[in-house]
Symmetry: C2
Subunit: 240 residues, 2 copies
């Protein structure tokens, strides 16, 4: 499992990354679906990968678990989280509550420079998709949503969005119909047009439908990705 998205960590360029860096890197890897749900994150492997002591890795894993991106099992180690259908529902409910408001605020407060930056981001998203660069396409697609919270000028919401977007990647990895595009960038483009028109309400509305579309493409009754839970499948209660 390659955690270092493209180039390895040269001890010269980045010696001793802090836990914030490590958390950030793992967040990124999860968003890009390089780390599928259930992946074991062993301390020794991470120590080697990031070139830090065990203590820092353990702190990083604890932070990641507090954001529900990794699950900590006592005496068994850390694993990339495997959201349940119920959790998926909750994540999308939270997103539908938050993001229309975020989009509205972002339009109200965006400077011309913000809109330009958003435009460049959209182009990069488009390029990555057409170049077949799946990892980068997914990452940029998620980043679009957190960028709105940033433009809205609210770091609390930004942090919430980073967590929700990352967990959404895990959810799509488990419940997403394979082969179907999740975040259609034309819907992102529509939202972008609301910025150009300076129309906060349509941005909010478009974001709402965008999220409903993503959610509609999930098969919450049958997990397609990740390993099946044998216990739940064959347990005495039967599959529920």
């Amino acid at each position: 499992m390659n955690l270092q998205s493209d180039r390895p960590i040269e001890p010269s360029e980045a010696e001793e990354p802090g836990e914030e860096d490590i958390v950030e890197r793992i967040f990124e890897a999860v968003v890009e679906q390089r780390l599928p749900p259930g992946t074991k994150l062993s301390e020794s492997a991470l120590c080697e990968a990031f070139g830090v002591g065990r203590m820092r890795i353990r702190r990083s894993l604890l932070l990641l678990s507090s954001r529900e991106v990794v699950e900590l099992h006592a005496n068994r180690g850390a694993f990339v989280a495997s959201p349940t259908a119920e959790q998926a529902r909750e994540v999308f409910e939270a997103r539908k509550a938050l993001e229309p408001t975020i989009a509205r605020l972002a339009v109200q407060r965006a400077t011309e420079a913000d809109i330009e930056r958003l435009d460049r981001h959209l182009q990069a998203e488009h390029r990555a998709h057409h170049a077949g660069n799946r990892h980068e396409a997914i990452r940029l697609s998620g980043q679009f949503h957190t960028m709105l919270a940033e433009i809205a000028g609210n770091s609390v919401m930004q942090r919430m969005m980073k967590e929700l977007v990352t967990r959404t990647s895990l959810i799509i990895g488990i419940f997403g119909a394979p082969g179907i595009r999740n975040c259609r960038d034309d819907e992102h483009a529509q939202i972008m047009s609301a910025f150009r028109r300076r129309s906060p309400d349509s941005a909010a509305r478009l974001m709402g439908t965008h999220l409903r579309h993503i959610e509609a493409h999930l098969r919450l009754d049958q997990q397609t990705g990740a390993g099946v839970d044998i216990v739940r499948l064959f347990g005495k209660a039967g599959p529920r």
Copy 2:
């Protein structure tokens, strides 16, 4: 500083609390304004208070810092967070985005048992207030808001609310006009009536106005509580 809200930890009844318990206890103490912003949380004191090793305390403090309830200063230790005016604005913006939706969902999904429980909670809130039990009154008042997220059946939102409510207590401690009631329980009662009428929309609307009222009672331009930041006050840039 008394962390153990009422009774001390008897080693018989709870030997070795986990970090979840410790985090929960400190959250509670902050909500109740027993721990004012800026309070030093020394490791040794916490070790003694909870009867656990230093490792567990450090993990707890890290978790608390990831929720922005505690600030970690390198080589200086942990302190109860002192939200800035900007952070206060962000917290309330997030609450105004989330809580009307939470209230709406809660009304839609509340069972009769939920409404009864909410009613009992409101009575306890009322009693605590009239008994002059300030700490408990504040705690119950905050708990009302997280309880709605619980009734709404969304643990993601519940976790968000716990954090936002706790930070709000800190914000009121710093920017609240002293002597003014923050969460008027008659507004809680109004929201409660929306439950009885089974009117999700009025619950959402009432929650919005409730939050605006709380925010309106803040003096974000002059922090009343907590120690003033001398550096910012007399720094070369002057107060900004």
